[in-house]
């Protein structure tokens, strides 16, 4: 049963064709990999799914409901979380506050109730802190929970961003190049964590260049090139598909 389905999406920017009649779907409880050379339209697709951009044509449905025209925060509230290719860790806050920010939608209260520190705010904050610490422990960041987020190492910041997205308890998680810039050991640890997330029932869509990781953990892989879907299927089949090899070797407009 597909959690996310993308139906003949097209997107052009002032005449530049970023995506062309792309159709994709992600089954619930699986990990789907999205590969393709740079400029193939992967991040554009993420922007479209999360509502940052609107498609020129086509629709996107999540859990059977049309989310094409929704605002980014509305889509997030439906249960779609994401991480960013350019790390968007909030350096003005501490590590645990970054994770707590992820829980924003799950906490009650508005400006007035927070300012007056009404009793349920207090209780909510306590429970949220507990949960945030557990998330940090899962990510291996508990020891630094009071650190300023900008003082973490690059790999740790990537984990923090993942933690922020997880704090939302998303049903669908979009990961944009989570392994970029990580050492092989860190990539293995990341892969383990992502598999664990799948076991918890979270559906995951990963854009990645790190072939090793994708082939290891993905249930299904889709390959993009020049804004079009060239093939889709189990990792081994896609890896050996001649069109994919040509796209990666030849590059644009091959």
């Amino acid at each position: 049963m597909s959690l996310l389905s993308i139906d003949t999406i097209s997107k052009s920017y002032d005449g530049v064709r970023a995506l062309h009649r792309l159709s994709l779907s992600v089954r619930e409880g699986t990990i789907k990999g999205l590969i393709g050379p740079n400029g193939a339209g992967k991040t554009t697709l993420f922007h479209l799914i999360t509502g940052v951009e609107r498609p020129t044509r086509g629709t996107i449905s999540f859990q059977g409901m049309d989310i094409t025209a929704l605002e980014p925060h509305e889509i997030a509230l439906r249960g779609v979380g994401r991480t960013f290719q350019t790390l968007q860790v909030m350096g003005t806050m501490t590590v645990v506050e970054n994770v707590l920010t992820g829980m924003h939608s799950r906490l009650k209260g508005g400006f007035l109730s927070c300012g007056l520190w009404l009793p349920w705010i207090h209780k909510g904050e306590r429970a949220a802190l507990q949960e945030a610490k557990e998330t940090l422990e899962f990510l291996g960041l508990l020891g630094r929970w009071k650190w300023n987020a900008s003082h973490l190492s690059f790999a740790q910041q990537k984990m923090l961003e993942l933690g922020r997205a997880l704090a939302m308890r998303p049903k669908l998680l979009l990961l944009d190049e989570p392994a970029a810039g990580l050492t092989p050991a860190e990539v293995t640890r990341l892969a383990e964590k992502i598999c664990w997330l799948r076991e918890q029932g979270i559906t995951i869509l990963i854009v990645e260049h790190h072939m090793g990781m994708i082939m290891d953990i993905a249930d299904e892989v889709a390959a993009l090139h020049n804004g079009e879907l060239i093939t889709e299927g189990p990792p081994d089949a896609v890896r050996n598909d001649p069109r994919v090899i040509e796209a990666y070797l030849r590059g644009r407009d091959a």
């Binding site: 209260g109 927070c114 207090h122």
Partner: protein
């Protein structure tokens, strides 16, 4: 018989329950909570020192200085509100003097023309400023950076033009006179001393509110919007709504300050509510430091004193004022506190470094 006993017991239990919750709430408002690290820092020992200093200050200061502190307190309220908008949420506003002016004029008009009590006018001023901020904020806050700054500046200028032109309502360029003192239940705040305690009391209450806000999910939301709007939206934060709300909140603070300003000055005229004041308030927030609540308050005291020391609007003072502004911006862009700390540490560690250098040179 048993049923009646149970009902009585239930009512007693309910009453005790409510009292207990209320008591817990009051306590949690003020006292630190060891389980929440941010609440642990809510009120530090330093704060009692500041409070004590504030309470005792007017007893040792001359009347003129108490007046300055009253003025500083009023500006500090505006700066506090603006620091939520600018220092935490990272948005620029060069028109906050207009909200200050809206508050001042609302109080002035209501108390002189319609004989509304100062307390009622106080509430109405905050409301008026908030409503105007809501109406202006919804379209304007889509803008960023320079354009937001200019749109808010434009709004400030339009406000001044409106005030100057609607002579029948606002007295035009000459303004409104004879605004009564602020009074609550018969107690009139007619001396500088009483006004001092009034304004700083209001400020302390607002500081507590702001502290609570900043340490809660809304404070995190503000910082998130400043750090990365995309990331904030990706966790479900309605960025546009948050921006409007914090804008309205900061305008309400400015309206409150404006109302008290009218009651202290007894007059309201357009001179004091222009770009100069907006710039001054923004400087207070910048000097105080972004992401800081106490900083802007200290900066308010400093800058009010500075403006007064330079003699207000005399010829020599304004160019010097401008030069000082520029110098402050060049040397203290992160706020005076941060740099002073660094410089102090650098200075203190000078001797250690000198000794180490001498040892190495052998």
């Amino acid at each position: 018989m048993v049923k009646e006993y149970n009902k009585e017991y239930k009512i007693e239990y309910r009453k005790r329950d409510i009292l207990y919750t209320a008591g817990l709430w009051l306590v949690s408002l003020i006292l630190p909570d060891p389980h929440l690290p941010y609440r642990r820092e809510f009120i530090k020992k330093r704060d009692f020192f500041y409070l004590g200093a504030l309470l005792l200050l007017p007893l040792i200061l001359s009347d003129r200085l108490v007046y300055l502190m009253v003025l500083a307190g009023i500006y500090a309220v505006v700066a506090l509100g603006l620091s939520l908008f600018l220092g935490y949420a990272g948005q620029i506003s060069l028109g906050h003097a207009a909200f200050f002016g809206i508050g001042a004029y609302t109080t002035a008009i209501l108390t002189t023309r319609y004989a509304v009590s100062p307390l009622g006018a106080f509430g109405a001023s905050a409301l008026a400023a908030a409503v105007c901020a809501y109406l202006i904020g919804k379209p304007i806050l889509k803008l960023k950076g320079y354009f937001l700054a200019l749109a808010t500046l434009g709004f400030g200028e339009i406000f001044l033009v409106m005030v100057r032109e609607s002579r029948s309502l606002t007295g035009g360029v000459s303004g409104i006179f004879g605004i009564p003192w602020f009074s609550v239940a018969g107690l009139a705040f007619d001396t500088y001393l009483k006004q001092y305690y009034l304004i700083w009391g209001v400020l302390i209450a607002l500081v507590l509110f702001a502290k609570n806000l900043v340490r809660s999910k809304m404070g995190r939301a503000l910082l998130a919007v400043a750090a990365s709007e995309d990331a904030a939206a990706s966790v479900g934060i309605n960025v546009a709504q948050i921006k409007v709300r914090v804008f309205v909140l900061s305008a309400a603070f400015a309206g409150i300050a404006g109302s008290l300003f009218s009651c202290v000055m007894s007059t309201a005229n357009p001179q004091g509510f222009g770009l100069g004041l907006s710039v001054l308030i923004v400087m207070m927030v910048i000097m105080g430091g972004m992401g800081n609540l106490y900083g802007p308050i200290f900066a308010a005291i400093f800058l009010t004193w500075l403006t007064d020391a330079l003699g207000g609007y005399q010829e020599y003072s304004l160019p010097i004022y401008g030069v000082i502004l520029i110098l402050l911006l060049i040397f203290f862009p992160d706020g005076v506190g941060t740099r002073l700390n660094e410089r102090l540490i650098y200075l203190i560690s000078y001797w250690g470094r000198k000794r180490r250098r001498e040892r190495v040179d052998i």
